[in-house]
Symmetry: C2
Subunit: 343 residues, 2 copies
């Protein structure tokens, strides 16, 4: 049924060795037969059997990505975009991408081990790094190729890409302080995550240079979902001493916070300002459009992929470490004049 190298060999009356070598462009086969073989392969519709190839060459042309998520039903556009960035780059470089999801913990490391032992992948992309990151410790220990989206507190002796969260939050702080606000609430993310600390420091430092400090009651922890932004904002805004600004640690929570405000008939951008972090596509088309910090997730995904493949191919041996300077994107959720409705 399926055409193998053997069928071609028989047809052109050569050994399978020659066919293989012709197809792989070795120069110890005459250009005449090489042409013939390639033409015949074409005609017969030959496609090499990937598994046989991978078994023989001892690599898999596959990179692994295990999304750390509690619910398998992650609808986070941030991850979709990252995934698209990684996946598309992988495809252009002729790599497969093997994706699965696993909640942080025991099972997670086991999943990494299985893929490595089973010879399933050549390397990993590790995302959403944590302060203490067992995945990174494990991979370093095993000396298995990987590239990470984000640093880790303990051990940063590996290749990574990250946005400068400290700087990003400083931008927000400067901007908000510049608008004269003082009653500022913040919805942060899980303190285990490495970027939470980064962003918090940036925010604190940025505000304190304007002599503003965050009240403890105005610091709430969300789980990066729209719902948690909504819930937290609702509680904040129902207080008699409600804040005039809500700074969320990602866009999804910011969007949730805007809904909460609108639910309470507050006008976002006037009665309360809201900012996010990430600049997911939706944030440009929300109402009002969201002021946020742009993190080029799609691009970062591509870079990570490229970086990892270079590591796998041993094209680079030193650790590559990229720290992006993110940019502030000012939109109407912080009160900028709406360019369309001129009133």
């Amino acid at each position: 049924m399926k055409v193998t190298i053997k069928d071609i060999a028989k047809k052109v009356n050569r050994s399978i060795t020659t066919v293989s070598r012709a197809l792989n462009g070795y120069d110890d086969v005459s250009s005449k037969t090489k042409a013939l073989i390639i033409k015949t392969a074409q005609e017969m519709g030959y496609t090499p059997n990937t598994f046989a190839q991978r078994l023989q060459k001892q690599f898999t042309d596959t990179i692994g990505l295990i999304l750390p998520t509690f619910s398998p039903r992650f609808a986070d556009p941030y991850f979709s975009e990252l995934l698209a960035g990684i996946g598309n780059k992988a495809a252009t470089l002729d790599y497969d991408l093997l994706v699965s999801t696993r909640a942080p913990g025991e099972q997670e490391i086991e999943a990494y081990r299985k893929l490595i032992e089973g010879g399933r992948v050549d390397g990993f992309i590790v995302v959403r790094t944590r302060k203490q990151d067992a995945r990174i410790d494990y991979l370093i220990d095993r000396e298995f190729p990987f590239a990470a989206f984000g640093r880790s507190e303990k051990n940063s002796d590996y290749s990574y890409v990250e946005e400068d969260g400290y700087y990003g939050m400083q931008l927000i702080a400067e901007y908000i302080a510049g608008l004269g606000h003082k009653d500022i609430a913040v919805i942060i993310s899980d303190p285990m995550l490495n970027f939470t600390g980064e962003r918090m420091s940036g925010l604190r430092d940025g505000l304190s240079s304007h002599n503003i400090s965050l009240k403890n009651e105005f610091i709430r922890t969300g789980d990066l979902t729209q719902k948690s932004g909504y819930d937290n904002a609702l509680e904040l805004l129902k207080r008699s001493d409600r804040p005039t600004v809500i700074i969320a640690f990602n866009d999804l929570m910011a969007l949730g916070a805007m809904s909460a405000a609108q639910e309470l008939s507050l006008e976002v951008g006037r009665d309360v300002l809201v900012t996010g972090f990430d600049d997911i596509p939706m944030s440009e088309h929300s109402h009002p459009p969201l002021t946020t910090v742009r993190q080029p997730v799609y691009t970062i995904g591509g870079m990570l992929c490229e970086m990892l493949i270079k590591i796998i191919k041993k094209e680079i041996t030193t650790h590559q470490q990229e720290l992006f300077k993110p940019a502030l994107v000012i939109r109407q959720s912080t009160g900028e004049v709406d360019s369309l409705s001129e009133e």
Copy 2:
């Protein structure tokens, strides 16, 4: 480095055949050695080499999914959710999911062919079926296992799952007509897509039973993105005879339409009503929350996956065809009273 069956064989002083058979639970190996072998395999951290297995058994435990999308950077939550549904079900059934994206056309079929010929996948899930669908024709012709999300005009002699788009749009039509509106605009999807026709008929029939007909100027075609919803709605709403209702063929376009309305200082739910289709997670938390038709995409993804695997394993031989009755979800974008702000 990596533990193979051979290493185990040496350790327990048995042949590799015995080890293999023990590990696979055959009963022609004594329970004592079976136990020993399993224990040793555990201890040595053995994980079978997937590629060797797949080469030998002639199947791949992999299902293919080629997303038909023009831009590889698809951030459509609809697809994310479908993907999650398929992927998670596949994982629980011990199947891999091989995903790639390809724009409709020549290249698309070629991608299918490559995966089949290369023995990469055991079957496909085909999504977003078209009226004339070359993918389906090809797969039927090749007699290759597949399950589709949606029917096709020409040839529906295969296994599929679909929501009843005709019925869904009828629900919308009834509801809107019941509210007394007559100036109704609609943002439809590409007429090539099979569901476009279904939904359009449902809408037309539903409205005409209330003696309402759609004006041609009020019918616009979008590409299912938020931006196209925004653009189309903007044009519709700037007319002097602007419609009082905008019915979008998916949620993303509906959300875009809401932004456009708000941009023009129209209150959604009062000055103009907006409806969607799909009920993506975001629609519940938009402002105002979106009235739409619930399509359980996550579940459908899982069903498709299950269906396909049964076909692959030849557990079913007749074509399974499921048509979901979707449900109307009424929210504030069509003027329902907001339950929280009691005023």
